[in-house]
Amino acid sequence: MTSHAAGLALLFQIVSFPSLGEVVGGPSLGWVFDERLKVFRSMVGPVGTASLSKAVELPLEVLWGAPSPRQDYLFVLSAPDGQAVVLNPTTGRWVARPVAGSLSRPDRVVLSPGGEAAVLYYRQGHKVQAVVGLPQAPRVSAEFDIGGIGEAAAELAVSDDGAALLVWAQEEDSGKLFLFRAGDAPRLLTAMGPQGAVSFLRRSRDAVLADRRRHELVLLRDVTGAAQRVVLAGEAEGISEPVAIGVSADNQWVVAANAGAATIAVADLKGYSLRLVACQCEPTSLHPMNRNFLFRLVGSSSDPVLLIDAGGPVPRVLVVAHPEYEIGEEARR
């Protein structure tokens, strides 16, 4: 760590830890959090022949974690109390920064599309905390009471500036999308099905949503203004029970995972084209990796780690090699 960084660490009471791992400093494609073993692995190598490393050594024990969309930090809930902490890789070290003002043990953490903000959702108190200043000075900037809009928040999305929060409220057999902004009353944007996914575009007030029941991908233009909705693709074009959605780093493409057809849809946000590719998996979520058009597809626990490379003329589904796959669960760590 440089003396400048050390000074900053002292100034903000940041604790830095020496790293024992071999991959601090940035893997080529990003990190993957192993939910079962509570460890991060790095994904290395060219896209076509990527593989996962052994568990990365971290300075603290982790209950849950997620890499940032740009793969420049890890957002974790530390053991044993579930404190939100940001882990920054610096030269040879991890720097841990607790999120100032955050409550412990959120039920869900959602990062903004560019990773500059996040939201922490607490189901018990119907509360959401917005976090800004990521990754260098993470702090809670606003708190929202979402108790008045329904039983539970099925999905959440936050804009990169942390100022706009979308909450997909689940009702018995339907859902509603609400916009929350600090100081404003919640605003109903649309009624939808009970399940799906929603995400802002990077550094934008536009958002995309996948409506599982209506089999549609929808672009919401300017959610804090007119909030006009344009259907990007529907059932006739191969969208079938979409459950996950992601946006390319350049905001040009949206990628959706169709649970109904076991396919991945790649749609041009300008509405010119839509491409489908079979994944033969049970997709549940999509996570951006360290390339513009590269996403990690999370499926059922028996599925291997998959990558969606949407950058070429034809989208590709790639299996990521896991060097410890044949050894057995006990030896993975």
Partner: protein
């Protein structure tokens, strides 16, 4: 051993997946890969707000769709269909749950008004524009929409007032006949005096 067999099974399974993926890719390449043809339409719901604009009792203004092409030029002659869900209880003024309008030279198509039968939490109006092989869909949301309570006709108001006044006079007479002081607060409303 069981684990190794399981892994082997899974590995075989994923070889098949890869092969299929490659085959699918090849298929896409041969068929042009794209579901949607070249060019595009765009729909702008200019000036639309979810807040209802009542034109008359139970009648709410519908959206206007502006249809443009990929160069943002208005598309004249595009067929625009406005639809509401049949179970919503809302119809257009034509009595149906959909209405079709052709865009004018400015690329605009104005929907008919919407007739309500009850209050609405939320209503989606689906707007689909078609022009040649091109198609685009937008959704206009409306809500919440209060259902205006039926007004009381003038003759009924007069009748109610008359009945009320007559009741008050009768009550006053009845109490006066008992030689008591009456304090009137309005027609039909009396306060019994303290003894």
């Amino acid at each position: 051993m069981r684990m190794a067999a399981s892994v082997a099974r899974r590995s075989r399974s994923w070889c098949v997946v890869l092969a299929c993926s490659i085959a699918c890719d090849a298929g896409w390449a041969q068929t042009g890969a794209q579901v949607r043809p070249g060019g595009r339409l765009d729909i702008e719901l200019a000036g639309w707000s979810p807040k209802p604009v009542f034109l008359a009792k139970h009648l709410v203004q519908g959206p206007t769709a502006k249809v443009t092409d990929e160069n943002n030029r208005p598309v004249a002659g595009a067929v625009v269909m406005f639809e509401v869900e049949p179970r919503s209880g809302v119809t257009f003024t034509n009595g149906g749950t959909s209405v079709t309008v052709t865009t004018n030279a400015r690329g605009e198509a104005q929907s008919e008004s919407l007739r309500l039968s009850s209050s609405l939490d939320w209503l989606d109006i689906r707007v689909t524009a078609s022009h040649g092989a091109l198609r685009a869909t937008a959704i206009a949301g409306l809500g919440p929409v209060p259902f205006p309570s039926p007004g009381i006709p003038g003759w009924a108001k007069l009748l109610i007032a008359g009945v009320g006044a007559a009741g008050g006079i009768l009550a006053a007479r009845a109490i006066s006949s008992e030689n008591e002081t009456i304090v009137e607060f309005g027609p039909g409303v009396v306060d019994r005096p303290r003894r």
